[in-house]
Structure formats: structure tokens, C-alpha cells
């Protein structure tokens, strides 16, 4: 019986696996179209104990607002999200999804981008802000 219990534990420890599927495969880097119009930009500031450098730009591309990072490096976190926010912390925000510095984020059509003053990198699972970038209009 002891052998059976030990075998059971071993089997399920060994198969505690993580394997990507067709919906979770690595995405190729996406580039903003050269004809896109840059509307806003900002530089990231880290919060206490976090390293963050880099910039964010919001473009108008084929009628859609798209958010792109430039040379962004942020400390690793367990559940980092990209927020558009009305303050330098999560307040009346729009969650754009999981953070990936290589992603280009399409902002939902219902969102009026000019209502938002900051882009945040925020850990949702532990409710901890990692970095914020005040947005400035590009003249």
C-alpha cells in the first residue's frame, strides 16, 4: 500500500506540467505601421524596489488606437498587466491585458484615449504597481 501511495504521489508530481497550445504559443514581435500617427508618449518611472526604464507611445493606425513600448525593461512580476489610467495609480482604468514588452496593444474602440493620463504596469494578483508613465501629447 505504501508503494501505491508513493507511486501515486510521484506520478502526479511528474505530470505537474505546463505545455503551450495553439492559443498560448509564442507570438512574433508586432510592429506599428510606418504610416501610423503618434499621438501620445511617456517615459516609465519605477515604484519603490522596482527597476523600470523605457518609453510608451500611443498611435492612431487605420482608425484604431494602438499602444507600443520602446526599449522597455521592467522587473519580472507574477501577473503584470498594462493599464490606461486617469492617475499614476489604478484609478478609472482600462485593463489592456497581460504585459509583454514585445506586444502592440489595440485599445478598445469604446475608449476615449485622451481621457487617460497614464500608462501603468501593474501586478493584478498582488495589487502592486510596478511602473507608471505620464502621457504627453505629441505635437
Amino acid at each position: 500500500m505504501k508503494k501505491a501511495v508513493f507511486l501515486f504521489a510521484c506520478i502526479f508530481t511528474l505530470i505537474s506540467c505546463e505545455e503551450e497550445g495553439e492559443l498560448t504559443g509564442s507570438l512574433p514581435p508586432v510592429a506599428i505601421d510606418e504610416t501610423a500617427t503618434p499621438l501620445f508618449e511617456g517615459s516609465f518611472e519605477p515604484t519603490s524596489g522596482i527597476n523600470a526604464t523605457g518609453k510608451v507611445k500611443i498611435y492612431l493606425e487605420n482608425g484604431a488606437h494602438r499602444l507600443d513600448f520602446e526599449d522597455l525593461n521592467v522587473s519580472n512580476g507574477p501577473d503584470l498587466k498594462v493599464y490606461l489610467s486617469t492617475a499614476a495609480y489604478p484609478q478609472q482604468f482600462v485593463n489592456l491585458g497581460n504585459f509583454n514588452a514585445n506586444n502592440v496593444y489595440t485599445i478598445p474602440q469604446a475608449v476615449n484615449v485622451s481621457d487617460y493620463s497614464h500608462v501603468l504596469i501593474h501586478c493584478q494578483q498582488y495589487n502592486h504597481l510596478f511602473a507608471y508613465a505620464p502621457l504627453q501629447p505629441i505635437q
Partner: protein, 297 residues
């Protein structure tokens, strides 16, 4: 006996084509209602590997390891650990799910009837936010609901008939699921970002039929999900998941074969008659095959 066994196997195979909804986290559904009279052995180890088919294209390998201690004719204690590995379009993700600790108190028998009170708790091993390659996964791929639950039940046994009423109440929610359907590339699953789940109530009627080495227990389970589950949308607003409240009715059949006084094997088959419109908790199963091995010592 062979005919009875073959009949059971046939019924299990028949259930393959039927879409079933499992109990809420297998908590209240499996509260101990057995009467442990005249037990020679006071300890029972149970190993329960299983296979399941869920919503969309998700399949499951599951397992549970359980220890039961019969303290005396009145008190029985149980501890159980569950494991679940989901496989589908999002990939494969496995993890230990929950630990259960329950106790049963059996009141003194009066003629053919007796009462049993059950209570306990469920402890999650995860915050229900397992990911693959950085992608958030729906609740169907999570090994646990991410809630600390209180379990309580009252069981009335009259001769071979058993009637139970139980509740499973999420006391503390640590669910940090971050699945948002519009970012996922499929609309097969509900958004369950920061999912909050409502309690369940269960009524169960079971008939216990003993014949030689076989014990057959057909039962009917009525599970009511007491309210609409909720999630946080991309604007940070909490939204109800309409259709997640409601009734599930299952018919179940359990067969236990005792090889000797120490070793027994148990098979379980269940079929739903009524299901909820929306089941964002990911507990839906189209097929469940579970074989439990019990060892007494």
C-alpha cells in the same frame, strides 16, 4: 454478481455520450454519509485516478488521495488532496487543487434510523491564476476554484435509504484568475477576471443495496448554485455572469466491489438531467471515469 458488474460497466459506457455537470469542487457531493458500524479496521486510504471531458475541447486527468480515520462508532475524520491536469487548445496545465478536511458525527441509532452531521473545510493550493507561456487561462484549466470553503451537511439514514442536505460556502476568496475572453482568441469560455463565486446547496437521495461482495448505491443529486457569479471587466467594474445561478440535477450510480475485508474498488457514473445555463467555474464534465481503490488497515 458478474451480471451485476457487467450491467454497471454498460451503464458507465452509456454515460459517455451524455453531457454531465460535476459537483461544485467535489466538496459537498462527497461528504461522508456511510455508517461505519462494526469496522475491523480503523484507517482507510483511497486512491482515485480519473479521466474527464469538459467544455470545448478540454480533457482532464484527475487524481485524489484520501485518508479516513474511524475514531469510534460516532466520529469519522477524513483528509483529501486533489490533483487536476487540463489539456486543450490553451495547452496542458496540471497542478494540485485543494485539500479537504471533514468530520462526521453519527448519532445513536434508533431502530432503523440514524442521523449524521458532517462539517469541514476546503483549502485551495492555488489562486486560480495558472498561466501557460504568460497567457491567462480560463477557470476550466485551473486546478482549484481559489476559495476557502466551509462545508456542512445533515444526513438521515433509514434502513437502506439515505437523505442528505449540504451547503458549500466560499468563506474567503483568493481567486486571482485573470482570463479575459476578448484577449484570448476564442469565445469558448466566460471572462473570469478576479472571479467571485457564490455558494452551493445540495440535496441528495441515495439507496444502499448490498449483495455479497457488491454494494450498489444509486442516487439523485439536486445542486442549486445560490446566486450569479461575478467577474471584473476591463474597466474595473464588477459584472454578473447571467445564467450562472441555478439548478443542476444529476443521477449517479456507485458500485463498490470488496475483494476481501481490506481491499475494495469503487466505480462512479453520473448523468445530468438539468444544467445551469452558464458554468464559468469550469466544473462542467461531459464524461467522468473514476475508479477508486480503498485499502483498510
Amino acid at each position: 454478481m458478474k451480471r451485476l458488474f457487467l450491467l454497471f460497466v454498460f451503464m458507465v459506457l452509456q454515460s459517455v455520450a451524455v453531457f454531465a455537470q460535476g459537483c461544485s469542487d467535489a466538496g459537498i457531493c462527497s461528504l461522508d454519509s456511510y455508517v461505519h458500524d462494526n469496522e475491523t479496521f480503523k484507517n482507510i486510504i483511497t486512491i482515485s485516478p480519473g479521466y474527464g471531458v469538459g467544455d470545448a475541447d478540454v480533457t482532464y486527468l484527475t487524481g485524489a488521495l484520501s485518508y479516513t480515520r474511524i475514531v469510534n462508532p460516532k466520529w469519522t475524520l477524513n483528509g483529501r488532496v486533489t490533483y487536476s491536469q487540463a489539456d486543450g487548445s490553451f495547452g496542458t496545465r496540471g497542478q494540485f487543487g485543494d485539500a479537504f478536511a471533514t468530520a462526521a458525527y453519527t448519532f445513536k441509532q434508533k431502530e432503523l434510523s440514524r442521523w449524521i452531521v458532517n462539517f469541514g473545510a476546503k483549502f485551495p493550493f492555488t489562486q486560480s491564476n495558472l498561466k501557460i507561456n504568460g497567457f491567462s487561462l480560463p477557470m476550466d484549466y485551473q486546478a482549484s476554484l481559489g476559495t476557502f470553503d466551509a462545508l456542512a451537511g445533515l444526513n438521515y439514514v433509514y434502513a437502506s435509504l439515505s437523505l442528505s442536505a449540504s451547503v458549500q460556502y466560499p468563506v474567503v476568496n483568493i481567486n486571482k484568475n485573470s482570463y479575459i475572453a476578448e484577449f484570448s482568441g476564442t469565445d469558448d469560455f466566460n471572462t473570469t477576471n478576479l472571479f467571485e463565486r457564490k455558494p452551493d446547496a445540495l440535496l441528495k437521495a441515495e439507496y444502499n443495496y448490498n449483495t455479497g461482495r457488491f454494494n450498489v448505491r444509486p442516487s439523485a443529486l439536486f445542486i442549486y448554485h445560490l446566486g450569479e457569479d461575478t467577474y471584473e471587466d476591463i474597466f474595473g467594474n464588477r459584472q454578473d455572469i447571467y445564467g450562472s445561478e441555478g439548478l443542476t440535477v444529476n443521477g449517479a450510480l456507485e458500485l463498490t466491489y470488496s475483494a476481501d475485508n481490506r481491499n475494495s474498488i469503487e466505480l462512479l457514473a453520473a448523468t445530468p438531467f438539468v444544467v445551469r445555463e452558464e458554468r464559468p467555474d469550469g466544473l462542467t464534465r461531459g464524461l467522468v471515469l473514476t475508479i477508486s481503490y480503498n485499502y483498510k488497515f
